[in-house]
Symmetry: C2
Subunit: 156 residues, 2 copies
DNA sequence: CTAAAAGCTCAAGTGAGCTTGAGGTCAAGG
DNA sequence: CCTTGACCTCAAGCTCACTTGAGCTTTTAG
């Protein structure tokens, strides 16, 4: 506590892990994938500025929204590299989530309507009854055969 | 067309694949996992009754709702083994989805509210700001570190 | 009758997102 | 000073939901 807080404002990977709830191994993995960065102490140990916590928050929330790590990395790359991101910077990034969230909510509502109606009654002629998600082919929520629910087979 | 339709009402794996949009390899996989069954022709080829299509529909929709194949298998095991499932049987199964769907929609709405507000402003003190999904620890939607968003680390 | 299409099994591979383990270094408390 | 815990790298392993490929048999259209 005293240590990290006083010595130069930098946090260890353990500190970050405890404060974020994200495992140290995951943090190293995110670094490898370019989602977060780290300074190094002379010893080679990672040192993080406090601001990385906000970045990690973004990552975790974006995952809940349904973005892959690659997509999240692309989003994070849009942040200004020279200065600390402002509230507006973060807002701009996450504004694109809204559409995705809306689409996903709409799908879930279609599913709820469809499940008793459509599966129960036998009208489920599978080519026609596309309850789910006709547009959002990158939604990436829920694995499984996606062709049926709106996606096209890749390369075909 | 003539073939399958007239010869005993049974469909081949190719028929089922085309009608459901689920790849034959996936159908074999589902069989291996006990989600669907198949009769066999003398040759060893799979033969499906039409009713399997409804079962497959259930599987695909359940996946979109966020259930794993194992959970889906457990659900399907609740269907009566002796007779063809009725509309009511299907409804009973999928009624449990509603709670899940509601929880997920609620989470997505919290996320939408939270993303600009919480990430942007810096209030995101990660232990306290649990926007996401406080109850539904089995939600299994979206990968990633789930402790932060409500799940506990396993065995701890 | 024959060639092509469709099916079969079984083993191995894929990709996303991490975790675990081996083998070693570094730092902080007693 | 020394032990203990935190950290390091790198490679391998894991889960989920499938797909792919090899090698072989069966079915069907011409």
């Amino acid at each position: 506590m005293l240590r990290s807080a006083l010595v130069s404002e930098l946090l260890t990977i353990g500190d970050i892990s405890r404060r974020s709830g994200v495992a140290a191994s995951a943090l190293r993995f995110y670094e490898e994938r370019g989602l977060i960065g780290a300074q190094r102490a002379g010893s080679g140990h990672r040192r993080y500025p406090r601001s990385v916590l906000r970045r990690i928050a973004f990552i975790v929330f974006a995952q809940r929204v349904g973005l892959t790590l690659e997509e999240i990395a692309r989003e994070l790359a849009k942040l200004p590299p020279d200065r600390a991101p402002t509230k507006r910077d973060w807002s701009r990034l996450s504004s694109s989530w809204s559409a995705r969230i809306d689409a996903r909510i709409a799908e879930l509502e279609r599913l709820r309507v469809g499940l008793t109606g459509c599966i129960g009654c036998g009208c489920l002629s599978l080519e026609r009854c596309r309850l789910a998600n006709p547009g959002d082919r990158a939604s990436s929520l829920g694995a499984g055969p996606r062709y049926w629910v709106g996606d096209r087979p890749r390369e075909a």
